[in-house]
């Protein structure tokens, strides 16, 4: 449980963030059809990423039963991704968007998310004391929830450093990990993220079966560019 601008939020092991009092589920960076975008360019990654992401999303919705779902942008890997959805995946997605008030926040990968899949497209979205957008703004008023960076934390352990996706949290904002199946990540202590979170921040790391909380000072500064998941 974390608190932001007087609102209680629950990070979920799936990488989603649940705002229970507003019955709102938030996910970031779904990157639908990332695999087929690589396939288009000659790298045929397995065509199961969208289905995998949808299954995880559906599972989180079943568990939490939100009235509203907010996708924080880069939901589609590229502007043509909607057209590449396999028939079954498109149907599943339509069924999901029909189950809740669905908000697509536009991202840099999907400035114009497809409109035939249900849900409403917005740029920024304000709800009560919180603002939802794709990329955090340095000058944002407190209470900002965003994605974009795919933060990962590198935690030194007695075995070696363990690299896992994480939520990054300070007094004014939360940055969500990527929810999509085939997404990579950026070290949360990289200046691109950390500069938005100065001076102090915490991370909630997605473990295998539970979440773990660390102050930023407990994390490695550098991640080897190849992530061990």
């Amino acid at each position: 449980m974390i608190e932001l601008n007087g609102v209680r939020l629950t990070p979920d092991l799936s990488g989603a963030l649940f705002w229970e009092d507003a019955s709102t589920l938030v996910v970031a960076d779904l990157h639908f059809e990332k695999a087929s975008s690589f396939a288009e360019r000659g790298q045929p990654l397995p065509p199961y990423d969208t289905a995998t992401t949808l299954a995880a999303l559906s599972e989180a919705m079943d568990r939490m039963g939100p009235r509203r779902v907010i996708c924080l942008g880069d939901s589609f890997h590229d502007p043509r991704a909607g057209g590449r959805l396999q028939h079954g995946d498109a149907q599943t997605l339509r069924a999901l968007t029909g189950r809740a008030d669905w908000i697509w926040v536009a991202g840099n990968h999907d400035p114009d998310p497809p409109e035939d899949l249900g849900g409403a497209v917005v740029h920024d979205f304000c709800l009560g004391p919180l603002t939802f957008r794709h990329i955090a703004r340095p000058d944002a008023t407190p209470g900002e929830i965003s994605g974009h960076f795919h933060p990962k934390a590198s935690v030194p352990t007695r075995w070696r450093s363990v690299v896992r996706p994480c939520f990054a949290i300070n007094a004014t904002r939360v940055i969500l990990p990527a929810f999509g199946a085939f997404t990579g990540g950026l070290n949360v202590r990289d200046p691109a993220i950390a500069s938005l979170l100065v001076p102090e921040f915490e991370v909630v790391v997605l473990g295998q079966g539970k979440l773990h909380r660390f102050p930023h000072s407990a994390l490695d500064l550098d991640i080897a560019p190849y992530n061990f998941k």
């Binding site: 396939a39 990654l45 396999q86 363990v162 295998q208 080897a224 992530n227």
Partner: protein
Amino acid sequence: MSDLPRIFEDWFASRGWRPHAHQKKLLTAAKNGESVLLIAPTGGGKTLSGFLPTLVDLAAAPQTGLHTLYVSPLKALAVDVHRNLEQPIAEMGLGISTETRTGDTPPAKKQRQRKRPPNVLMTTPESLALLLATPDAAQMFATLRRVIIDEVHALAGTKRGDLLALGLSRVRALNRDIHCVGLSATVAHPNALRGYVHPSARIIQVPGGKKPKIGIVSAHGRMPWSGHMGLYAVPEVYAEIQNHTTTLIFVNTRATAEIVFQALWRINELNLPIALHHGSLDREQRRKVEAAMAAGKLRAVVATSSLDLGIDWGAVDLVIQMGAPKGTARLVQRIGRSNHRFDTPSEALLVPGNRFEALECTVARAGVLANVLDGDPPRPGTLDVLCQHIMGMACAGPFTADDLYAEVISAAPYGGLARQDFDESLAFVENGGYSLRAYERFSKLVRDSSGRYHVRNPRLVRQYRMNAGVIVEADHIKVRLGGRILGQVEEYFILGLTAGDTFIFGGRLLAFVGIRNGVAIATPAKGGDPQVPAYMGGRLPLTTTLADAVQRYFHTPERWPELGPEVREWLAAQAEHSSFPQPGRLLVETFPRGARHFMVVYGFAGRNAHQTLGLLLTRRMLRYKYKPLGFVAGDYAVAVWSGEDPTDVEGLLEQDILGDELEEWITESNMMKRMFRTVAVISGLIERKAPGAEKTGRQVTFSSDIIYDVLRRHEPNHILLRATRADAASGLIDLKRLADMLQAAHGKIDHRRLDRVSPLAVPVMLSIGKESVGPAMIDELLDDAGESLIAEAMRRTGRGK
């Protein structure tokens, strides 16, 4: 009657040489158009033998265009051979053009070589693959007569060897008249190599020279109980260096090389020039050492298998092997690096690392003297390399599946390739080969009306050319000291360091600063307790032949007097307290120690198979509620410790451990994921480099681990997963050997319940704590990290100091 023309006879005579018998045999074979596998110990003038028919041929009938293709596993060797060949050509005034073509050849020269090739081209498997993947390959190889494959024994059975075999299958398809000559060290499976060289090759075997003189260090009361480096004998080693002109010191791992090098320099009061050579050092550094060696400027080089192959140095008069040799064939090759003359025996000294290794050294020496060779026959060709080759062939020009299949199975490693596997490899290249046919519109290959496959667009050709090759270095990180790159270490090791940690690399003591842009930054360090990078692939496991010989040795006490007194006492004590392992049976000892229970399984299946067994055993012990705590694996045995007494030893070692536990483990295994990554890169699923968008360092935008998970879930039989599993059968996971061992042990387990540790178990037990015990669960580690943080915080705010 000699096939050697006069000018050659004169040239040999001018140097005071006479052609060897095998050189004449090769000439005759070449005249008859026969392919040959030449097996000779080092120093047999092998390379010149290979080229002599080419020179004779071209001297008699000069031609333009390519006549002979020479392929070497080492770029440096190709360059060196080129230099050595120019000499006779120049001295006899033969006017034969020779050139090298490697990754270092400038693009303009490569272009020119394609249009106007030299008579003799020296190249590597990778460069040959790229050469063949062009439309003008047919023209270039039309005039080819001969192919020479150097160090065949080091290529066959490896992925590079697969790549070369496939390349040669294309060369033979382009030009049916060529004959091939393979040059090989003495090996256990000459016939497999013969087929690799050419389906109809015959073997010419050069007899060895004099039997080598092999000593084993007598430890005089200092034979350690554990360890693999033989550091106790460094003073003896140093004395031997002083007594010889040039000494080659072979060790088994790069880490050992670093440590032995440091130890020698600590006592190097005479400042003898002693150098270090291993595969992780920067290429420039290695070249310098090799050049200094060739110029006779060094008294000793500490080296790993990086010097097993390559240039012959006549001046080496002693080879020292530190740590057990792990195989007799390998020991023979290493010993052969000394004294490259037939008339004097090579001299070698073995330094066992511990009591167990003393047995291994003794047995290996006997094996060498009795000409027992070991090693497994080359495994079948790998599917990921086949995928890369198919794409390369598509870049060369359109093909039909039937034709390419016929061509591919003419390569020995692929002789048994099922059509189904070929078709699936082709389907993978085409569009991923997924049962979900989502990518047909993105196919890389398109079929014309006559069923021939074409590459869809030129961009894909560029993509192939940028990513070709089968050496995947993705998980290494360069180490930089000031402005200099010292070499590279495994990322795995670097991830285990925190800023300020000291480590030894490149013969220096370094402090780790951090990773910047994918490069590990280091500064010179003064002291501390340094770590040494370990390399997962760095250690070859004990061969089956040698393992069996060691087990048999236990049961021949009449030979024990040749061992030192400490080793004899150790064996006698074991006979009294427990019993000995023997081939065909499996000795397992269990005993309590402290609050723990230990189980030592003397599998003699080599480190990799034991490592896998340890991982599986701890899983099964968890199910049996024995509370497993950890394990350590060595070449001879694996030891597992637990909170409860593992009473059902037979149940634990049932063969079905390779079912459930293995399946479970494979899902999580980092090792499998690393193997998959290699397969994914080689097959072309993951690009190393993208045309137009050069990635900095090894930045990947997705995780191959996740691709692996998803593929396992959705297409467990996908060709790339099958390729990964095939890789796991040998190498780091060594499943096949483990399966063989468990099968042989079924119903033949000798379980000794002891009240305390046995003498034989001591060397195994002592390595506990020195070796990493493998990953615990992620959550446990993170919990732990959290707790140690709390402890640290409490200490800081704390009471007392």
